[in-house]
Amino acid sequence: MSAFTPKTEVKIAGVTLKNPVMTASGTFGSGMEYGEFFDLSKLGAVVTKGVADKPWPGNPTPRIAETPSGMLNAIGLQNPGIDVFISRDLPYLAQYDTKVIVNVCGHSEEEYLNVVRRLAETDADMLEINISCPNVKEGGIAFGTDPKAVERITRAVKREARQPVIMKLSPNVTDIRVMARAAEAGGADAVSLINTLTGMKIDIERRTFAIANRTGGLSGPAIRPVAVRMVYEASHAVSIPVIGMGGIMSGEDAVEFLMAGARAVSVGTAHFQDPLASLRVAEGIRAFLERKQIEDVNDIVGIVS
């Protein structure tokens, strides 16, 4: 074996991640449960479950359903609110030598800003603003599907945020490039995509919706081709970094997103198959770089275009 050691650091909005692998919000809690399985310091960043200004109870159950190579979820953003989050979850994550990205949700601009202001006092490294949760709406349409709303909320968040801001985009749109450009125009430091595709499953035996909320968000390998396409389109539409996700199960899958134009990737649903999934993805990227004798992971970002 050669003593070849590729560089895996990537930089997003001035923040350096030791490798391009993060956890997808909502699939990893605040890391505590997975911290029992592996050393979170091995990840580029931990992205937390969405947190709101107050505790949210979430949706009724069943909240999830399996679908071919994927799953639907309508957790409904259950979370303990920013107070508990700051006093319990951030100190837990501070033990680890990894970046902490806090995913923020709200029902209204004001609720987002309440969270963003509170986080300004903390040492969270970045904020990820979830404007794409299909289960949370303002005036009937999801925030994330109207470019004007995306630009406006991005600008409002940027005004209050002390940390770099990642806008997390919804894939349930006609043209993802328009949304990415709106985020960039509003001053976003990066965009992440994709959130889940809205889907539905019917239990034909019980003649009812498989999840109580009727619709849920589709994630997992099933959506990977849509995610790769959107990451490719977004990364060609904006000059801020793109963080890619959607069905990443292995290092090879992650490399696909990097080659399509993502500067970093998030691993989500894969954790439900293997609690070590994000670690394995990080190791898989490194193994790929070694096998191909690629010196620096940044060299493959956007290489297929």
């Binding site: 909502g26 699939t27 990893f28 809690g29 505590m32 449960e33 997975y34 029992e36 399985f37 479950k49 505790p55 949210w56 109870p57 979430g58 159950t61 069943p62 909240r63 999830i64 359903a65 399996e66 071919p68 190579s69 994927g70 799953m71 979820n73 957790i75 259950q78 979370n79 303990p80 609110g81 508990v84 997992g220 390998p221 649903t269 954790h271 439900f272 198959q273 293997d274 609690p275 070590l276």
Partner: protein, 254 residues
């Protein structure tokens, strides 16, 4: 908690559509009765784990026994496993029944439908356990229970024991235990909850919900609680992590 590849030691059919599967695992000696494990499909189109209760533990042999009903594609896949095969598992998961606190008490273990399996190991770790179990018609695990304690049976069709449900059997046999541990369908748990309150005894119930992570991270598997839960503080506890066993008074079964 271990995520590992378990070897299949033995599998057999013990009743119509009910399988008994013995696996070799590394964590047999850590198990608390009432805990469960997640089983993973080998077929890549099925991503989510199947939670299955631990029915019996053989700590010397390092094996566990699972008893499960063929419900859908995942359990039908597991039904094909035979010695020599392996299956990915995650466990042990959840809290389990509080056997330590009730070792010498008269505990009635109540099971309905496919809720019987976790009661076997639980009974083995109590000194004075008896069973009240409800079947639709065909019985399973009946001899295993009889080997441990008295078994009061109810069947829907009256083919064995009391005709009716477990509560009918409990009443017919005039049972007044010090405590009860139950696992089964929600309507049964609801009825038992009222009964236990009336009897003024503690009732521990094992809950079920669809699961993704199995370890408390994704918040898929919550049940409503009467008080604020310790994790999200929104009266929604995680069955996989805070449960599956709850004191019946803590859970809002409506």
């Amino acid at each position: 908690m271990r995520h590992e590849t378990a070897a299949v030691v033995f599998q057999e059919t013990i009743a119509e559509n009910i399988k008994s599967l013995v696996l070799r695992v590394s964590f047999a000696d850590e198990i608390v009765p009432g805990q469960f494990i997640s089983l993973y499909s080998a077929d890549k189109s099925r991503l989510l784990p199947r939670p299955i209760s631990i029915c019996q533990v053989n700590r010397e042999a390092g094996t566990i026994r699972l008893v499960y009903r063929l419900a859908g594609a995942g359990t039908r896949e597991f039904a094909l496993l035979s010695p020599g095969d392996t299956v990915k598992v995650l466990g042990p998961l959840g809290n389990g029944f509080p056997v330590k606190d009730f070792t010498d008490k008269n505990v009635l273990l109540i099971g309905g439908g496919i809720g019987i399996p976790p009661l076997l190991q639980t009974a083995a770790e109590l000194h004075k356990a008896s069973f009240a179990v409800g079947y639709r018609s065909e019985t399973y695990l009946y001899e295993d229970m009889q080997a441990i304690g008295d078994v009061y049976v109810s069947t829907e069709d009256g083919s064995l024991g009391t005709k009716g449900n477990v509560l009918d059997a409990i009443r017919e046999n005039g049972l007044h235990p010090d405590a009860a541990f139950a696992c089964g369908p929600k309507p049964m748990l609801r009825a038992l909850s009222a009964w236990a309150e009336n009897e003024n005894i503690p009732l521990y119930i094992s809950m079920e919900e669809h699961m993704a992570c199995g370890i408390g991270a994704c918040l898929a598997c919550v049940c409503k609680t009467t008080e604020e839960d310790g994790h999200s503080h929104v009266k929604n506890a995680r069955i996989c992590k805070d449960g599956p066993v709850f004191l019946s008074k803590e859970v809002d079964l409506t």
